[in-house]
Amino acid sequence: MNKLILKYAYPLTFALLMLLAWVVYQHLSTGIMPLAVAAVIVWPTATFLFIYFWPRLILGVYKKAALVKGFGDGPIQINTLYTQPQALFADPLHVTLPPGSSPLMSYGTNLDTLYTVGCLDLSKGSQVLHVPDMAGRYYAVQFTDPSDGTNFAYVGKRTTGTKAGDYLISGPGSKGTVPQGMKQISSPNNSVLVIGRVFVSDDSDLPNAYDLARQIQLAPPSPSRSS
């Protein structure tokens, strides 16, 4: 359905505009003012709303897909990370996701990186992101604010290097202290999308990369260390 709409976007838009022109024409004899006033008020207002809410709308769909359907093994629990199935990455042409899964994560063509995704809720406290030693391998963990679609922080080869590490991710109202040996990532929003990407060199490298991607994990700060 969506693909049909995209394919025939121009003729469909034209047909819709013609239909609306006909509606306007029908009102010319009986008084156009109420229609015109409503249209003139709604047009700029709705334009602004579309622009303002578009990233939130798209990421809302993504977030809902993760939390309600999941990407291969059922819904993804909040404050946990999920790595896309290895079999699907190895043979995307023939392996299909179990029924009920969302196709969003496997939509499109990417054989460069394994995806590891999760949704954070920091309202009840901070979370600790653990990354394993990637031994020089390219990887990145992206932190996205779902309210406006901006990426406010990264952990990964470019920003923090490839050694193992722990990162405290805290929400806007957090007052806790940062445990020793941890770096802090401050989120502008209690809701966060986490997108991890781990480089896969080739088929023989996939099990290795998958194992490393699965070691990117979230946990609450341990009480003994966060006092």
Partner: protein, 201 residues
Amino acid sequence: MEINYGPYAQDMTNILAWLSSSGVVQGIIIGAVLAFITFQVLARTKVTKINGWRTMYGFGVPGNGILLRAASYRLFPGPINVPEEAMYWTTSVAGAGNYIMHFPSGGLPPNDAFWSLTMSDAKNDFVENPIDRYFVGDRSGLVQNPDGSTDIYLQRSAPAGHESNWLPTPSGRFILWLRVYIPGAAILNGLYQVPPVVKVN
């Protein structure tokens, strides 16, 4: 027998009747449709298109402005990277024919991680092919020409003598994705241009 719904019911009926006959509802619908089209047109102004490749600079960067944010999620509807982490280009090619991408000597995408050129069919799915190759890049053993340039052959059947630089296409329209992770300065400052996909006879 008449049922008395109370005085407000009659007011409500009058309001609804006025709304449907006056054209206010139609006006709201027209305004919303025009707004959606205006959004699409405005978002398009943020797309950079060079040599047939579409991309956008500033994706996901905090403070990049509401129009750029909307435009970027319209071009790539998912949580993609900031430019410093990865840049993405896409193009759609009519298909049914042989194509070449010619990178001049030293003109492969500059990066500090890796790059890849991935083939998709018109539905953005992988393309079945006899050599199980779905992308080419810096890790797929591309062979340079004697002058140091690199040609990538985009066609349905193997190019004789250039099999190592072959990226199999479907028989019809196809979509290409170029991804460059940790792109070099020449990409970030906009100087680097992705070469066009050229049809050959």
